[in-house]
Symmetry: C2
């Protein structure tokens, strides 16, 4: 029986997440990960063989969690409008918890597009609860106005994701400035995006 008195492997993963998310595959340093995890560098290779393997575990985990949150819409018993409003809150809460994740995934995909193609396609296969599929079906049944579902989805993700993506800029700009904006728990953001959804999915249908 193995005893996990010292959770070295987990600490490496946590450190690897932090360092890879900040610096990316190329920019990250194994020594940096080891220092962050407070373990000997050789243990990185003992547990994860090499940098690519370690990165893959971090990236795969991030990718599946990301698409699970961004692509899957729940509560299929509710009307489409309610479902999307819940989806908005779901996304914002998720991005609020992992604010660096969008940036990480987008950046790494842009650097090594070919390598990640199959990974992305392997993951996004939950057709039943896919947000775009649901939107297109609702459109077909005239449950929502005659809008472009793809463009609507892009806007929705824009409104939810960009504030977290651009947070580093906002932080630098607003510090030492008197720009009046505070949004604890993202309440204003959520309400404002919800307003947009309601307007787009109801107003235009009249």
């Amino acid at each position: 029986m193995k005893l996990k008195d010292s959770n070295t492997e987990e600490r490496i993963m946590e450190a690897a997440k932090a360092v890879f998310m900040k610096y990316g595959l190329y920019g990250a340093r194994m020594q940096d990960i080891a220092d962050t995890a407070k373990i000997n560098k050789a243990l990185l290779h003992y547990y994860f063989r090499n940098k690519e393997k370690l990165f893959d575990q971090v990236f795969d985990g991030a990718l599946s969690r990301y698409f699970e949150q961004m692509e899957v819409i729940h509560d299929d018993s509710l009307p489409i409008l309610e479902r999307i409003l819940i989806y908005v809150v779901q996304i914002i809460d998720f991005l609020s918890e992992y604010p660096q994740m969008s940036m990480f995934i987008i950046k790494e995909i842009s650097i090594n597009e070919k390598l990640f193609k199959e990974k992305v396609h392997k993951i996004k296969r939950n057709k039943n609860a896919n947000i775009l599929t649901i939107l297109e079906k609702s459109r077909k049944f005239n449950e929502i106005p005659d809008i472009d579902p793809v463009l609507f989805l892009i806007h929705l993700h824009s409104l939810c994701s960009y504030p977290f993506l651009a947070a580093p800029i906002f932080k630098v700009i607003t510090e030492n400035s008197n720009i009046p904006f505070h949004d604890p728990s993202n309440l204003k953001l959520k309400q404002s995006v919800k307003d947009y959804v309601i307007y787009t999915l109801t107003k235009k249908s009249i």
Copy 2:
């Protein structure tokens, strides 16, 4: 008189832009820049002394161009609504021409926040035509409805920027898929964002 028969310096700058924008300061390799520019690696140091100096030139140029486009609103003789609609087109056209620039600036600031603070503050000083200043003034004079100018601006930038930020994901997802979305010259995007602006700045005022 100096003759610039071989424009080595320019070619280095172009190569440096490409490589730094893709990999960032940490991830970029001087040899990669030299290869891209098709010159000897030593010339990088001959013209730009070292990696940090070269990066600074690239980053400073990007930063000033970025804030010039994202922060400055023109045509001060027009009504505020028209000005913002032109501003939307200005931003989208700019991001369309330099799709990697947002990502580059955000990422580098997030990695080295402290170093870039003064740079950002040095640049954003064009108070007269600052978009937020204009919005707040229009709000004060009741030219626009009672909305939060900062939140409105965040939404505006979200709608304009995110499609280019997330382009690497879209590309991977839509390839080999039958997702129906094509937007040459970003016409749909522009119109849709304009619609949002018009709705927000007129509808709510009633």
